[in-house]
Symmetry: D2
Subunit: 359 residues, 4 copies
Amino acid sequence: MGNTFGQVFRVTTFGESHGPVVGAVIDGCPARLELCESDIQPQLDRRRPGQSDLTTPRGEADRVQLVSGVEKGVTLGSPLTVLVANRDTKPEDYGEMVAAPRPSHADYSYKMKYGVLASSGGGRASARETVGRVAAGAIAEKLLRVRYGVEIVAWVESVQDLCVSEPDVDKLTRAAVDRTPVRCPDAEVAQKMADRIREAKAGGNSLGGVVACVCRHVPAGWGEPVFDKLSARLAAAMMSIPATRGFEIGLGFRSTRMSGSDHNDRFVRKGDRLGTATNRSGGIQGGLSNGEPIVFRVAFKPPATIGLLQETTDWNGKPLILAAKGRHDPCVVPRAVAVVESMAALVLADAALLAVAAG
Amino acid sequence: MGNTFGQVFRVTTFGESHGPVVGAVIDGCPARLELCESDIQPQLDRRRPGQSDLTTPRGEADRVQLVSGVEKGVTLGSPLTVLVANRDTKPEDYGEMVAAPRPSHADYSYKMKYGVLASSGGGRASARETVGRVAAGAIAEKLLRVRYGVEIVAWVESVQDLCVSEPDVDKLTRAAVDRTPVRCPDAEVAQKMADRIREAKAGGNSLGGVVACVCRHVPAGWGEPVFDKLSARLAAAMMSIPATRGFEIGLGFRSTRMSGSDHNDRFVRKGDRLGTATNRSGGIQGGLSNGEPIVFRVAFKPPATIGLLQETTDWNGKPLILAAKGRHDPCVVPRAVAVVESMAALVLADAALLAVAAG
Amino acid sequence: MGNTFGQVFRVTTFGESHGPVVGAVIDGCPARLELCESDIQPQLDRRRPGQSDLTTPRGEADRVQLVSGVEKGVTLGSPLTVLVANRDTKPEDYGEMVAAPRPSHADYSYKMKYGVLASSGGGRASARETVGRVAAGAIAEKLLRVRYGVEIVAWVESVQDLCVSEPDVDKLTRAAVDRTPVRCPDAEVAQKMADRIREAKAGGNSLGGVVACVCRHVPAGWGEPVFDKLSARLAAAMMSIPATRGFEIGLGFRSTRMSGSDHNDRFVRKGDRLGTATNRSGGIQGGLSNGEPIVFRVAFKPPATIGLLQETTDWNGKPLILAAKGRHDPCVVPRAVAVVESMAALVLADAALLAVAAG
Amino acid sequence: MGNTFGQVFRVTTFGESHGPVVGAVIDGCPARLELCESDIQPQLDRRRPGQSDLTTPRGEADRVQLVSGVEKGVTLGSPLTVLVANRDTKPEDYGEMVAAPRPSHADYSYKMKYGVLASSGGGRASARETVGRVAAGAIAEKLLRVRYGVEIVAWVESVQDLCVSEPDVDKLTRAAVDRTPVRCPDAEVAQKMADRIREAKAGGNSLGGVVACVCRHVPAGWGEPVFDKLSARLAAAMMSIPATRGFEIGLGFRSTRMSGSDHNDRFVRKGDRLGTATNRSGGIQGGLSNGEPIVFRVAFKPPATIGLLQETTDWNGKPLILAAKGRHDPCVVPRAVAVVESMAALVLADAALLAVAAG
């Protein structure tokens, strides 16, 4: 249910933010893929806390251990298990929620569902749960790259109103994205974003932003036609990331202000295949990839944990002033880039294997 | 896979737009629910073509037949099967795609996936597939209403740039929505929208728009915490509807331009439960319902089928000018209202049963 | 849940024994398979009631209608829907269970689960539910035959203590099985079985028996290694057929009385592949096919509906003497042959597509 | 797929026999169940190798670690992860399969499926994979016992032709079963079985046997009616255990030799509920529990690994004489008792949660 994603390439994540370990089991990865821990570590490093002064100071090396499914550097076809130890847990920081559910946090809804709370509040609602996703996504990416040459690159498009226009999605690289700690490929805007984030951090506040992503070289015809449209699967994948509030494929909400004659992508010949002259649809038609780059956007709200005092109530509805102590990111988008890429990889790896099955 | 939705309350739709029948099998509906065809027909009527001059002229009565799972007016716990006959099929209208894939249609991606095309092009990509969803959704709604008092109301928020501000989501009714054929609760804006749609129709063009939706009286604690967050399930459900391009929960993309102190929903006492003073989160925290109204938005692109001539290519990449003949809606949002409500009902009915199982 | 079988090649059956229709939706069948109703009808004819004096007199022509997923004689990749009308329903025959749950029938357990009963008692527990399985199985068989040359032949191995030894499983044909109405390939034993069945019928009693089955030309390596072993999937498939009580693969329970040195199948060269000199394992090792014929057995208990008077109680535990009126088979194995073959085909078609996905 | 079992109470096992760790993730276990490692260890101890001179000498303490999903002794509703380290691995013992696939082992079929072999041959086909099942099953059992009072007891019914008649299934306890190392509740027959096993071990041979099992206090109405009949789920669960060859519910194959009037279980009043005077059906009618004890049998073939020399071929079909070196059990049934109980618990826990969802 909630903790498993995918139909044939299937990932199950586990672990509490303040327990001994987080990780994932990846089932359905084909045998004979060359795979080792160093295929996984780089994306974990891009996701890990403490990588720059823009993120939470929680110090986690996040070294991955691959404890099943691989022998002599190749996958066996059996489940791959990745473990990442939690080192810098401070459950005492979360004492305030014993008294009161934190506003816009999962404390309250978790309590209503489970009747019990992990010491870190919505334990599995923590961003730390995404460690397992990123490790699994790195494996999915390896499969996609080796078999199909698929490339996935996400970037920070906006922090609040600071926004960059779309880069050349045919050419954008992760190296270009990583040139700034905020992971926005426009250095000038990136600087402004970083300043804004530091300012929020200093002021005990938090900021929202948008992560955009392109998936290149996805063959035409991946995806399912009705409920499991590739766009629907991507939407589910992205909206399952903590703090997400919106998803757009192609022109997204902008398309709603257009007419059909302005929006339609006419076909043109591209070498030995058909392509489209424009890509307003974002690479997906009728739920299936059409061979053009898949382009989508994900909205991240400002993190709920802020240092500023907040008027709210305790669990019984009695008013109080809350001061949060847990460490947190003032803005999640720089680290979310790796999570967005990873979830996209999980969606595409599953679609790739299903496309083979349907063939 | 593509044709089944839900984990415990499960719907499988079937049927081609130009075959004899479309329908759905609904499995997992609890026994002893009072149910008859008249529980289903009203929503089909709100979805059916030809209901006003704003829609496609395809004439379909869309009378539902309930052929299994019910006896003496109550459900048996066995699969419910609904059938709706196709009467007004004109496959000859679709001859043009024999020569060329229609721009921004599913013809091309379907051909790449399946190697064969239904005579209506992307047969299952047709809006007619949503008949099964709406019939199934009406059953889900009945269950939700009877057991939990859940109410679901969607409305047209915008057609192109013509936009209404959010109505009182605690009180909005379907009757209020249905007062205008465009299904926008603001009569004045609705009139402008209708004019704009008629204008597009006359000009052989099409328009995009946004459908918004509220789900009221959803108990706190429904949903799953990680991959199957209620927001993720709603996103998948909505993005599986033909012509959708974006999804927002709560403030959606607007939240990305805010700070945490402005966005957080502080708790207040509401009678004998905790509630929030504002509802910027749209009723979901950490993927679980929090007891506030669930509010979301769905972006619909302008329909791809337009009467205007389009420059494109044939299947071999040779340029040609395409003139479409298939009947179509100039703007799908008035009819999409019922589809959005239905998919929301399917998500919530599944969540309701899973919440019981987890209890 | 209960009404869907398979992971990639997926079948959902629906319909009550005494409703207007029974049928199935088959999702995941690859596109471009040549398919028409005459591919399905022959197996339905072998399953249908009234085909000989050994079966129930319920008269059903069981003509299949294929109403979705096929156009111009080929599959589209969309769901295939088959419908079979119920003609000869006599719900009045089932009035006795209003007063009392029939012994060894599903009336009681259905009532405990659902709190309501179809007029035919355990409506979906009826053998009539298998119509959908057989129609779906015929489609699966077509796929397996065309793509892989797989052949599936089941036969009646025993009726009570009347038992035939294993025929040459490399050569046995359906024609040979169908030479007698009891579907036992040994004419002499078949005659005794038929006599025994007629005798039971005349005496208002019923008989059990065993159906055996061989699946030939299944490539090595199909199946999954742990929970979805091919043997486990076959067991689940067979034990889901009404009235089944046991399942054996290869030597089954006989193997428990052997030693390893007597049971092991040593390898030998068979043309350009490895094979085994004996096939005590029944074609499956470690849950995966090994290229040898898959051979299994299914135990069917005597039908619960008998004409003889039975001491039992009413729904409140008050003793009474029950006289059943519903029409029934005195022994199900002659008709079960087609059901066993169909379920085997569903298991193998799913395994075939999953094997492709894993490749 | 292969490595996950269950629909709502879901278990995924992972780990190679000769890797660092084996384990399982259990998703869907309700929150607020009291749970600690000492709930799990006893069944692992009953399963572990080296517990008596009847088992393989591989020395594994099999200490369980519960690393997620529990805090302060209660479950959180999040995935439970159990890890068990492998200590006594001797991959060098498996060198012979580099040269030749071992007869009646999974080496050959695994190689055909995956194209690569773990150093232990069919790594996931190893009985060591069942460690994860037993740990998960112990958790399922705790849930079933606390919530419903369900009790599950398995025992060795036969080793080769040495067989005990059915004990009083209403009263049999695990303590009674554990009185002998062979786990047969009849001390005299148990002694003969133990002698037979030691004899086989001394002679480098192996033996088959039957494990029987009773599940008491299962409420009436659990299970699903069609494909996921409780009997079908149990059959799948049992036939997924390594070395199993057959499954029977109730009288199983014996019922095929009976008539309906002899087999039917007539109803009688049992206190405030209906029960049956006999239990030939083994507690399941129409796929649903009927409130009587669920009784089933599982056939285990003699282990394929034997010390005796075997004529077979190498991977290329060239004849050779094989001498196995891997440590193994001469007869698996004494240890299989815990595995059978665990798989039964997994089936019933899933059915319990689904029954709640359907209610």
